[in-house]
């Protein structure tokens, strides 16, 4: 189906995009029906203790100035047009980070009102689990998105130590 090496090329491209953002990345948050717990934690990132700015991330109120879209909530269907417009208004290259268990397909099942997952509407680059994710988890997610930290969860088994066999 895909040519050999395509995945490597895609990975290299992803890394080059991430390196372009380097140490200056503007974040726009998008609430698609969340309970605002995720927003509380995201707001904490700008507080002195977490101090997002020391890592080169900044919040911006305008999608046209944003490099990264941080989406919370289960993506309610009423928000489809607004979410698409926000995404299209962002200049490329752009990243989408789905934040919180709702955005990742937990909590809400797809029904008449919600898609149940952000991935149904937007192309998501990084998924941050948690309900809500702690500011430290959000920082890790952002750093994974710009390729400054390696993804860790892939190698976790969620099996207790010494009991894997």
């Amino acid at each position: 189906m895909t040519r050999p090496g395509t995945e490597e090329t895609a990975e290299a491209l992803r890394r080059s995009v991430a390196s372009q953002f380097g140490r200056s990345l503007h974040v726009r948050t998008l609430d698609t029906g969340s309970c605002a717990a995720c927003e509380q934690e995201i707001r904490l990132l700008a507080a002195p203790h977490y101090d997002l700015h020391r890592l080169g991330f900044f919040f911006t109120p305008a999608p046209r100035h944003a490099d990264l879209l941080m989406v919370t909530g289960p993506m309610i269907r009423a928000f489809d047009v607004a979410a698409r417009k926000t995404y299209e208004a962002m200049p490329g290259p752009k990243l989408v980070v789905a934040t919180g268990a709702c955005a990742l397909g937990g909590v809400y099942q797809p029904d008449a009102f919600t898609h149940g997952s952000v991935g149904e509407t937007l192309p998501v680059d990084v998924w941050i689990p948690g309900c809500p994710p702690s500011p430290l988890a959000l920082l890790q997610g952002l750093l994974v998105a710009v390729d400054r930290l390696a993804e860790k969860v892939r190698d976790l088994a969620f099996i207790q130590d010494g009991d894997a066999g």
Partner: protein
């Protein structure tokens, strides 16, 4: 006033050193469960799947499928079966693919059948 704030004032630094090392309170964060396959029977797996409020647990044959992305770390499975479930202590869970978050936990007696 939080203790870290007073401590920070005394030392003159209030900011976390996160990517370098996590804060001490990171150990107290609610984290997704880790399972002990030796104590997980298929009946228990079904019970846990029924308890889970966010559809993070499902049983598929001799495996318990755990979706860490859907988990809200509510601790209900831990309360229901403390002998088989404990907190994993992992909070750095960001993934580049949703499938990286889906874990397969083998159940007791799965190898025999």
């Amino acid at each position: 006033m939080p203790l870290w704030f007073l401590r920070g004032l005394r030392r003159g630094v209030v900011t976390t050193r996160y990517p370098h090392r996590p804060d001490a309170f990171a150990a107290e964060l609610p984290t997704p469960p880790a399972f002990r396959p030796r104590a997980l029977t298929s009946e228990l797996a079904d019970q846990l799947a029924g308890i889970c409020p966010s559809w993070a647990l499902t049983r598929s044959g001799t495996e318990l499928i755990f979706d860490a992305g859907a988990c809200t770390a509510c601790g209900r499975c831990r309360e229901a079966a403390p002998e088989a479930v404990a907190a994993s202590g992992e909070f750095e869970l960001a993934a580049t693919e949703l499938t990286h978050l889906v874990k397969r936990i083998p159940l007791l007696g799965g190898d025999d059948s």
